[in-house]
Symmetry: C3
Amino acid sequence: MFTITELSTERINSILTEALAFANGKTAKIEGEVFCSNLFFEDSTRTKTSFDMAERKLGLQVVPFDASHSSVNKGESLYDTVKTIESLGVNLVVIRDKKDRYFEELNNINIPVINGGDGTGNHPSQCMLDLMTIYQEFGKFEGLKIGIVGDVKHSRVANSNAEALRRLGAKVYFSGPEHWFDEGALINGTYLSVDQLIAEVDVLMLLRIQHERHDAQMSFSASEYHRKYGLTKEREKGMKQGAIIMHPAPINRGVEIDTDLVECERSRVFKQMQNGVFARMAILKEALEKEGYTFKEL
Amino acid sequence: MFTITELSTERINSILTEALAFANGKTAKIEGEVFCSNLFFEDSTRTKTSFDMAERKLGLQVVPFDASHSSVNKGESLYDTVKTIESLGVNLVVIRDKKDRYFEELNNINIPVINGGDGTGNHPSQCMLDLMTIYQEFGKFEGLKIGIVGDVKHSRVANSNAEALRRLGAKVYFSGPEHWFDEGALINGTYLSVDQLIAEVDVLMLLRIQHERHDAQMSFSASEYHRKYGLTKEREKGMKQGAIIMHPAPINRGVEIDTDLVECERSRVFKQMQNGVFARMAILKEALEKEGYTFKEL
Amino acid sequence: MFTITELSTERINSILTEALAFANGKTAKIEGEVFCSNLFFEDSTRTKTSFDMAERKLGLQVVPFDASHSSVNKGESLYDTVKTIESLGVNLVVIRDKKDRYFEELNNINIPVINGGDGTGNHPSQCMLDLMTIYQEFGKFEGLKIGIVGDVKHSRVANSNAEALRRLGAKVYFSGPEHWFDEGALINGTYLSVDQLIAEVDVLMLLRIQHERHDAQMSFSASEYHRKYGLTKEREKGMKQGAIIMHPAPINRGVEIDTDLVECERSRVFKQMQNGVFARMAILKEALEKEGYTFKEL
């Protein structure tokens, strides 16, 4: 699985159903000896460990791969590295890479490749866990109002989420520094001021300020961002009853969100991480079943 | 478990008994699927691998965590990292961090945290393995004379050991460069010259010269330290019959100890490492049993 | 196992037979709980992951070891590091190190040490997988003509291979930049021009241009090397019917070999990688059986 765009609504629903079953205690163990490896060419705690946990819970053997000590340092291409891993007998790989749509180079690979994030493009497993978290809360997408605040243009998460949510019947609003928004960023939703948006939505998705992705210096300080666009304690009071707060993490405390709100009652931040393992179990299981592997419930 | 100070003598004895049983061939495998992770924010071969072995011997699944490629590089706090690992379904963590008493930030964490070493403060699992090694040799602590030579003030190991040994009835002596000792360093023992100390003790604990912890240049060369305070072949001859040599390692050969003595008959250096796995098995088992996990002997 | 030179022809044949059996579907699982660790002090994707897979397929528990975060950074010697790993209860280690014949320092180690590559010297597991790949193709070594092209002098692989192949009855030819060849490099074979060699051989073994090993600047560019000594599409047409192409990888595409030939019909490059896992299973099994461990077929 590379992108959310490629998934039919039916397939999204099927993965969601399985992920929710795992969250409710369903187990599945793969039959036979199956090896996987997580090829992460970018730093990650959450996503890599989350896939690792999901793989182990499914009974896969996780073969370690450390990008920083690999032959990529000797100039080996991504294709040759993945072909090598395949040749060594690994049966599935998860890849994160800095390059947008890196997976287009991998046509000759004959094992399932799961996208753990590509450049500023796609992050389908994060999208699935976000959808799952929303569905757990509201039992539907139709008619929900979703607000996404931050640098939508450079966020792997925002665009996938906005597109999927719109397709599933939700209404999407955006906010954040205006110069971060252009026509491309607004395909799947409408721009509102932060205060308008916060008062309106059922789900408030805050994006991480990606210091490491902004080439130029940001034109504002962290505290200025917080005051202008962040979820302050004051703004949180204006949220609708039952509305929830989401963030893909890692959080810049005191920037996107006041530090005291990270674990407040509305916050689903750590719930999202829990759900991530279940969403990835569903994604991995689907990919492996397509290859003919079978699972049994314990 | 964070510090030796927090442990009652009774609890120390109970962990020691279990550790000695493991050394004598007892086995224990946890029931069910239990995940742990070793979050080491400082270099370590011995301690990390030792915990890893102990965890595997207990039947835990060890989820890899590489601090240098984690989101800590994006500025994430220790609390948020540990909360993330907990949210992902990891059931126990071992942490080593450069910061003294880092564990005070982790109040809201609901899984057991085992201290694998904090700053210059505590290293309780090392203390337990040292106690275990002494007990194996002498069958008691009461009345033993223990000498600790080196930079007691900056050693995670020395202070925990001195305190525990004093509480268990041993008499502790210190030696090393005098300007490394002040009143704080001498709470649990008495300063002697190196030659006096070596002639007196049943157990000679040499500390590593922590080049990497001394901010200022040391005021002596390695060979000068060896000549003045190190265990030379000459000094070893003056040790009492049956007296043993210990060192937490990694050893600076030819500095704290003559290279030919590292594996001499009195030396328990590699025995300590063996014992480390059993001590950590006992520590982990105690922490997990407190959470309700059960073990079976094979 | 440290070098090919130490192996009798009989022992080479015995390991080959076992490796070929694994390639044909034989399985073997070790009895009891056995731990191993891969101590790689040089970057590697292929060899490290290949050993890791082989170990897991044999039912060993692989204890992670990260050289870059180990106490080697605190100046610990290789011997002390390996003795530590042994003391912790690891039952076998695989080592790769930059130092030629590092294993000569390890006399006091009491667990099997498998050489995963030492300096520019030996790489016996690579040699075994190369022999295996040739044997699969031709069913014999006697009378085969083998061409090795590249920096034979600085290649871990070339010398071991040339020696073993000569002993097994093959005839070895070398080619590449003439100033890379001196008498020492030509003990086991004869120098030919690239075009002569390619027209003559049954097996064409291309060596990697080891940019990272050449101290001085190379006296030619990558494209110049390709034109003068590389396997171009034109040269490939001159190969004998049934002749095969081998490369230990990672490949510099467009230097040693035209990128379009990497997966051509004659190429066994990825087959070699597959075979590597089976060859290493055979090597590990032999070493463990010598220690008294037993295996069962599933």
